[in-house]
Amino acid sequence: MLTLLAGGRVIDPVNGRDEAGDVWMRDGRIVDAPRETRPDATYDATGKIVMAGAIDIHSHIAGWNVNTARLLLPEYHRAAMARPATTPLSYAGWSTFETGGRYATMGFTTVVEPAVSPHYALHAHLELADTPIIDKATLAMLGNDDYLLSLLRAKESESAIEDYVAWVLEMSRSIGIKVVNPGGAAAFKENVRAFSLDDVVPHYGISSRQIVKALQRAVNKLGVPHPLHVHCNNLGLAGNVETALETIEAAEGLPLHLAHLQFYSYGSDGERGFSSAAARLAEAVNAAAAAVTVDVGQVMFGPTVTSSADVLRQFNARHRARPKKWLILDGDANGAGIVPYEYRRSDFYNAVQWAVGLELFLLIDDPERVFFTTDHPNGAPFTSYPEIFALLMSRDLRAKWIADLPSAAMAVTTLPSIRREYTLPEIAVMTRAAPARLFGLTDRGHLGAGAVADVAVYEDDADRAKMFRAAALVFKDGELVVRDGGVLRHTWGRALTVAPQRDRAVDRRMKDYYEERYGLADDLFKVPADALGRPEPFEVVPCRP
């Protein structure tokens, strides 16, 4: 099957293209223009914008935490409109089916679920297997687990840690490793209520910094393309910019990704002791090594639910729940906290948070190092992305929003003075080229020959929110799945994983460990290849040699 997408404005920064031209697809891949063959299907993209499918690097879309949030918040569905019943369960407000479809209609074709407890990995993959159209990947969480902390306490070799990390990546079928409030959840079980980078987990005698460094090293040494993904200590607290700055410094120039930096960009200036420190942090990111990357975690106003593996932070925030209900899980390692919340325009703190996110987007120079996220659903649901693109692309639009927000809040940020506007090629870098590179996905995020034929086509509408909300056409693996913002058909994507080499002796050690600690077979926690009931549920992304 040869498909021609003709005459659109092709924005493909990886291949240096920004021009009116054609994109050819054959059998699920992008191909060079064939010499004599006629296409089996032609789509006219004249006057439209053509980009690779977008990649979301951090969005909590599946797994025990998200699903428990669904079950706790039935009221979030009542408002959901009935949708045409042409697709299975398409109208079920917040289901996996809806998630895949809504991402696809915005032109997103790959999404990373960033917080999977290794013991809940099978659950997460079952949900992802029921999330249509998009491809997905998971990050496995380590850093609050007894096994790693025990290795560190016993001063085991670096290779012992690498073998363990490789074992976890395989048993959980993940694409990378995330650490969430390193050591904080383990310390919370020992009744610690505040935990910073140089605090020590009781009994293990290991600091948060040591955990970060050990995991960063192991991930890098294994050749896993995605650097260690760090959710720092002290999320959400006034003055926590110091924690973020220390963590950036702790990267020591090696690859490290800091998640949802917006939640760590707070100073303690002003009458209320809460201010934006985004400018300072952006400067630090600009000055840091290129291997240090961040995503934003933009806040938008409205009701949402915070769902985080940072159990200590969620516990401390539980009584601020809006509406007043919450669930805190002391898990096997990280645990979880689900706290519904509503960001309000009239709320000083929420308004500062909104501005801080935009400041980070606009003050970090290189769109390849600042990633587009709302930390869905923590800062805002992913369905708010179109509005955020519009805000990034227009200072006039920002000025309108700013005029409606508490002036005291805007006064403790630099946002009103920022004139930068994102261009479409910069959006393409931030949401396509850079994410693919950050995860080692050489055949995604661009439209060169050989790339996966994931393509999004948008109307070139001056209303950028409208443009990004409903793609004109979306191709997944070369197949047309969205037209005029509506899902045409449900295909089933794959979960991308890595499989770094390891010394197989670790398998025996893990078997013994699970037997000893839990009296259970380690197999009961693994994700078997054939468990998901889809023909090709996984695709292995190569590690660096």
Partner: protein, 367 residues
């Protein structure tokens, strides 16, 4: 051995599937109840309910939803069975508890905590009958109160004691409550345990509130013991596929959750359904009602029906006849388990998929 029956007569599986499909196709609102199936079976059942404008319920929905309701209206601290087993130095058991393997392990094991006491202290509130005697051999079990009906009042008094409010008079002496309060506060990581089937909403709310209060100074969590028949697995599958728990109907063109409206017994009693698909792959449980519309029963061997089903298919038991993914009480999560005695028995998922495939207009709506 026979595997399929129509109107009590043994038939080929194909004939039973065809008859079942005929019943579903003719139905205005099929009720899928019981739902004792592995995750694949539950997924197939939900898809069929959606496709046929039916209703999805589970035989243990009552107690599952009672527990969930507390979380949907207040705050809950929760832990995993594995974490409780490794970490808890104190257990606060409330009401009668079935002597499951997990529970036996929890009460007879010792804390593998790396700090603090190794011997797990156990306090048991209102165990009702002789259930507490099973562990009474341990000197560390302190039974407080007896009758289950006293539990909410005892919990209320205990909670008042913990936060230093005046204590109402209950079946338990103030001295005992004060001692218990001191003991709970002295724990390093305590876990409150109850069986969701046995404890009422008021008691669950009290337990959750009490645990939250204890966290002001120390660490405490809860471990509600879920019903069998993959009830939690079914709850989660409903959650991700529909965004809602079971007792959800699809007749209005969208998923609509209403624990009263879509209660199987009420639908049967009120004659609001014209076809029942009853699923019990784990325990060969028969439907509890005495009168029912035409029923398609997918059960393990040996179900004793009060009302003979129109179609009966003997299905395999998950993780015995065929590999299965389901909730395990020991892991506290969905686990993939191999078949212990593999057989050719059809699984619930396959049976429902075949029924669905035999419906008219079987098209793009399958998932």
């Amino acid at each position: 051995m026979e595997r399929a029956w129509v109107a009590g007569e043994p038939v080929q599986l194909d004939a039973a599937i065809a008859e079942a499909a005929k019943l579903v196709a003719a139905s205005r609102q099929p009720l899928i109840a019981g739902l004792g199936a592995d995750v694949a079976g539950v997924r197939a059942a939900i898809s069929l309910a959606q496709r046929s404008g039916g209703v999805i319920d589970h035989m243990h929905a009552e107690s599952l939803l009672r527990n969930l309701d507390v979380a949907r209206s207040s705050g809950v601290m929760l832990t995993t069975p594995t974490e409780a087993e490794v970490h808890a130095d104190t257990l606060l058991v409330a009401g009668p508890v079935r002597q499951t393997t997990l529970f036996q392990q929890l009460v007879s094991g010792s804390s593998r905590r790396t700090t603090g006491a190794k011997v797990r202290r156990i306090f048991w509130l209102c165990p009702e009958s002789g259930t507490a005697t099973a562990v009474a051999g341990r000197d560390s079990v302190n039974v407080v109160g007896r009758a289950l009906r006293d539990l909410p009042a005892v919990l209320a008094a205990l909670r008042a004691c913990i936060v230093g409010r005046p204590i109402a008079k209950t079946a338990i002496s103030v001295r005992t409550l004060e001692q218990l309060s001191r003991d709970l506060k002295a724990s390093r990581f305590g876990v409150a345990i109850w069986t969701v089937a046995h404890v009422d909403a008021l008691a669950i709310e009290m337990l959750c509130g009490l645990v939250d209060d204890l966290n002001a100074k120390t660490r405490f969590s809860t471990l509600p013991l879920p019903p069998a028949d993959n009830a939690l697995g079914a709850l989660h599958a409903c959650g991700w596929m529909t965004g809602l728990p079971m007792r959800t109907g699809f007749g209005r063109g969208h998923a609509h959750h209403d624990p009263w409206l879509f209660d199987s017994r009420r639908l049967i009693g009120g004659g609001e359904t014209d076809c029942v698909i009853w699923i019990s792959a784990y325990h060969a449980e028969a439907p509890p009602w005495r009168e029912a519309p035409p029923t398609i029963a997918l059960t393990a061997d040996g179900a004793a029906f009060r009302v003979p089903p129109r179609v009966h298919i003997a299905v395999g038991v998950p993780a015995i006849d065929h590999p299965a993914i389901h909730y395990l009480p020991s892991t506290g999560t969905l686990s993939a388990v191999a078949a212990s005695q593999p057989s050719t028995r059809i699984s619930v998922a396959d049976a429902i998929s075949r029924i669905a495939a035999s419906l008219p207009d079987d098209g793009a709506r399958r998932c």
